[in-house]
Subunit: 294 residues, 2 copies
């Protein structure tokens, strides 16, 4: 195979990968070649533009380390991550909708008891979060594992300022009680820009886009026999709900963070300053494998 | 914009980038979003497969340094580099065809005099290369700058074994004489596998492909008023001519490297051992900007 034209080279590459052993890898590779070539044929890059593309990808890779994942940020801001999300998670009655994991999840969040304050002393408006975890038919799921994490009042996560604050904060792992209920205290999160000092930031600037996400609290909820739920609850009224830079907002995930005057809080504690209350009742989807085994 | 479906998310991203200021960047970004989303919609990656894709790109970036360009290797082996080549360089009478630059070009090759031996003492079959540089109508281009580089008898370039050989070799910059002629001695290059100990190598193995390129000599030729020519001359009869891993072979770039018994070589030198002779006459394309200015 020699002397390829703009169209025969695509067939040549497809022919060359016919011996791909794994059928799924073959399917993905064939689609990659067809779509990549179609993109190049449409755009007709100059040699110089091709070099700029190679340089962009290289700098994106060099920006990735154990604290920063620039390729995830690129996938998020190009809408690819949420496209993968909707492909894998259709809406279903009684099941909470999903959204992106984001780059700030930490595997080993500190275990906390229900009712604990996880703010780690960060300054902000006090917030109590209450809620429940159930199956789609409303049956409480006792003891479900609940990871939560959120930004501070300035829009920064703990891991972005460990040098300053010294320890993880606004982040914890809880277990729901026997009735599937949970509650904890923290501070109300703020909207924030995704890190935009790298190639993704250059792209957003060239595209004339802002880098902001509306304020939200992340939840990751697991229980035996159910699919793991990865989602956020967004603060109603946030000015970025309709322009989230990663396209992650779903109406069912927006809740009023209700302001209360000083007084007795929902967990019985006496609160001497105004506070906010978020309640969200989560529904988990039964795991397919578990259903088959039952 | 919220609650995206598999199709509305693409429109949402396209709408979001409508304010891209530079029209060419806008065109490229719009095409990227459409083709990337079409690929994802066709392949329907699981969350796990998406993570594997992010990991593949990240490792490809981490493999890039000042001696290795893994994204170029990926572009080359997926046929994207040669697609960009054919888009930018259609065949034209009297103009030598182009092919990939490859990852082994070095900016500051040593200047050599016509007739010099550039083998640097590497062991192999002696080879004399002769040729000329002309405009499409056959007019000699005096003093054209000619960069040449090629592999050794084992298929390795100097830059892959600098620790062992200590200096650049089989690489030089010449200037054609007043009649556009050039000549130099070296050793006959061998076929070689592209570096395959990284993510690109994993991909080639999964695709059931070999990593080999047919033996060739690289040429990069420049002269005022002409487009720079980046090409190779391939050794006729090489077993990889029809399966070059980067799809770079064009028939017009294949030449017999003719074996000669000891005796007087084409440059008048007396050669005491058998040697090979390659002759190639190059045609350069007049530069558009220069033509307009003339």
């Amino acid at each position: 195979m020699r002397n390829f034209s703009e169209t025969t080279i695509t067939d040549a590459v497809l022919e060359r990968i016919q011996d791909t052993g794994n059928p799924r890898i073959k399917q993905i590779n064939e689609a990659l070649v067809r779509h990549l070539h179609a993109f190049v044929r449409e755009v007709r890059p100059t040699q110089k533009e091709w070099e700029q593309g190679i340089d962009f990808l290289t700098r994106t890779g060099h920006m990735c380390n154990d604290k920063r994942q620039e390729f995830i940020l690129l996938s998020d801001t190009l809408g690819a991550s949420m496209l993968v999300d909707v492909i894998n998670h259709g809406a279903q009655k009684g099941v909470t909708e999903t959204t992106v994991l984001g780059p700030f999840f930490v595997e080993a969040a500190p275990d906390k008891a229900l009712g604990d304050d996880i703010s780690g002393g960060m300054v902000g408006d006090p917030m109590i979060v209450t809620g429940s975890v159930s199956s789609p038919d409303g049956k409480p799921i006792a003891n479900a594992t609940i990871d939560v994490w959120h930004s501070d009042d300035d829009g920064y996560y703990d891991v972005q300022q460990l040098d300053k604050i010294g320890d993880l904060a606004m982040r914890a792992r809880f277990h729901a009680d026997q009735n599937g209920q949970f509650r904890f205290w923290s501070i109300k999160p703020a909207a924030y820009p995704v890190p935009h000092d790298g190639p993704t930031g250059e792209m957003l600037e060239a595209q004339g886009r802002h880098p902001w996400r509306p304020a939200h609290v992340h939840f990751m909820i697991s229980a035996p026999g159910y699919e793991q739920l990865v989602t956020h609850v967004f603060v109603a009224g946030d000015k970025y709900l309709d322009s989230d830079v990663v396209f992650g907002v779903k109406d069912s995930l927006i809740r009023e963070f209700v302001r209360h005057e000083p007084g007795q809080a929902p967990d019985g504690r006496t609160q001497n300053t105004p506070y906010y209350h978020l309640n969200y009742d989560f529904g988990l989807k039964p795991d397919k494998a578990a259903s088959r085994a039952a």
